[in-house]
């Protein structure tokens, strides 16, 4: 479980996050949704430790990440996997080498153990045939799946996904969403997905928080989000005519 408590963050005197508190539950796909510029990615970067909050704390199963010393931080980081918006694959390495990278750097596994683990992860995301390709030789959807494989190769307890569907066609988006949810349930991990994709929200949003102008103003699930009475959330969800027609 991941908790963030009273997170505040400002950049250049602009208050980006205002007293944000949330709990992301284990074994569930937790979504952070909101329009562009509402602070979702800043919150995500604070959760993974790329940015330090001005105040507040981030807890990983009651371990304070924001106040951790270097050893404690390293220990928590080894349990975190992250899928970046563009995949963030290392250009000079093949797909196989990208997925093996965390094992090479952080594990004491033998070469054969690492190879077995990498092959397992690539099979899990359906890319065992692409192991020898470079990132420039694979599609966007494949890059995202390689990113997921790399994120879970260390048996991560926490998985972060930053807009995993950006730039993907609807069919591939659904495939990525389903893969994320399957992995979450299969390994009982805490998954946090930052997205503004309506389809993802309605398909895999088991726990959803809605951000508006740097504040969390709604929390719920995909089952009750369409019935919300929060005006800002209604404007966000029903901006699309298709969704409005669905509600009718």
């Amino acid at each position: 479980m991941i908790e963030c408590k009273n997170i505040n963050k400002s950049f250049n005197n602009k208050h980006i996050l205002k007293d944000v508190s949330a709990t992301f539950e284990q074994g569930k796909t937790n979504l952070i949704i909101g329009a562009s510029g509402t602070g979702k990615s800043v919150l995500l970067n604070i959760l993974v430790g790329l940015i330090h909050p001005d105040s507040g704390s981030v807890l990983y199963d009651d371990r304070d990440f924001t106040q951790a010393n270097k050893e404690e931080e390293q220990e928590i980081r080894r349990e975190i996997g992250m899928l970046f918006q563009g995949g963030a694959l290392f250009d000079s390495k093949t797909v196989e080498e990208n997925v093996m990278f965390p094992l090479d750097m952080l594990s004491g596994m033998s070469k054969s153990e690492k190879t077995d683990r990498v092959n397992f992860c690539l099979q899990r995301v359906g890319l065992d045939h692409a192991a020898k390709l470079k990132p420039s030789e694979i599609s966007g959807g494949m890059a995202k799946r390689v990113g997921i494989a790399r994120a879970i190769v260390m048996n991560s307890k926490y998985l972060y996904c930053d807009e995993p569907n950006s730039g993907l066609d609807p069919q591939t988006s659904i495939r990525i969403d389903n893969l994320i949810q399957e992995i979450t349930h299969e390994y009982n991990i805490t998954t946090v997905v930052v997205t503004h994709d309506m389809n993802s929200m309605l398909e895999i949003g088991e726990n959803i928080i809605f951000m508006f102008q740097g504040e969390k103003i709604w929390e719920g699930t995909k089952d009750n989000i369409l019935g919300t009475t929060v005006p800002e959330l209604q404007n966000f969800i029903f901006a699309s005519k298709l969704i409005r027609d669905m509600k009718k």
Binding site: V48, G49, L50, K70, E73, Q74, R77, R78, I80, M82, F84, Q85, G86, A88, L89, F90, D91, F101, P102, D104, M105, L106
Partner: protein, 234 residues
């Protein structure tokens, strides 16, 4: 940034492989351009020196001495490093800048890897190892280029040239050239790495970082050249 390179380091075997890879990228891939530049510079120096030494009181072997001194003291270390600032510096800044904007550096940080140490330290080490070798290579080729130009244009005989490059030879000049090479190598790699690592924005900013890296590296090399000459030769 320099202090962050030395903390939370990875295993020695990781740096060994990375440094070797960088030595090939920085060193081996620069041999051709260094060879071309130094050969032609040596040739031009020989021709221009001969053209200006019109007094019959000055023996012709002085041309070779001048080519030797200029090659060792200045052309090989400084000129070569200015060229390498363009080739190596822009490559380092461009690579790191691209990694920054595509979040590859963030991916390393999330994994708990010291990205500055992992990415930059091998580049600095490889530069310090290979650039002095390239400077030595450039010095030799510059003198050889002068010889070939002198012979082809019939300015100087082989015996006069060999006598000239041996006469009044000061061994300290070689040490001076190597000291300059080490200092310039560090400046080029660290300045370029800094520019690339702290790039913010998109493709345009990566290009700007690359350009700034080259300009700043060249200026740093020239300033260091002046300071080292003042400190070590005077």
């Amino acid at each position: 940034m320099m202090m962050s390179l030395l903390v939370r380091r990875e295993k020695f075997s990781v740096y060994w492989k990375l440094t070797l890879d960088e030595c090939i990228l920085i060193g081996t891939n620069s041999i051709f351009i260094v060879a071309i530049v130094s050969s032609f510079i040596g040739a031009v120096t020989c021709l221009q020196t001969a053209a200006n030494l019109v007094s019959p009181l000055v023996p012709i072997y002085v041309v070779a001495s001048v080519v030797r001194e200029m090659s060792i003291l200045e052309l090989a270390p400084t000129f070569t490093c200015v060229v390498l600032a363009g080739k190596v510096g822009s490559s380092i800044a461009g690579q790191l800048g691209t990694m920054r904007i595509t979040q590859q550096i963030d991916a390393l940080e999330v994994m708990g890897i010291n990205s500055a140490s992992y990415l930059i330290l091998p580049k600095i080490l490889a530069s310090i190892i290979t650039i002095p070798m390239l400077v030595t290579f450039a010095g030799l080729l510059s003198i050889l280029g002068g010889f070939i130009a002198g012979r082809l244009s019939d300015i100087i005989s082989t015996q006069d040239y060999i006598y000239g490059i041996q006469s009044d030879f000061n061994e300290f000049n070689v040490s001076f050239a190597l000291i300059k090479a080490f200092v310039f190598a560090f400046l080029i790699s660290s300045i370029s790495a800094y520019q690339g690592f702290f790039t913010k924005g998109g493709a345009l900013e990566v290009g700007q970082s690359s350009t700034t890296a080259v300009v700043n590296s060249c200026i740093a090399v020239l300033v260091a050249d002046l300071l080292l000459a003042q400190l070590l030769l005077n």
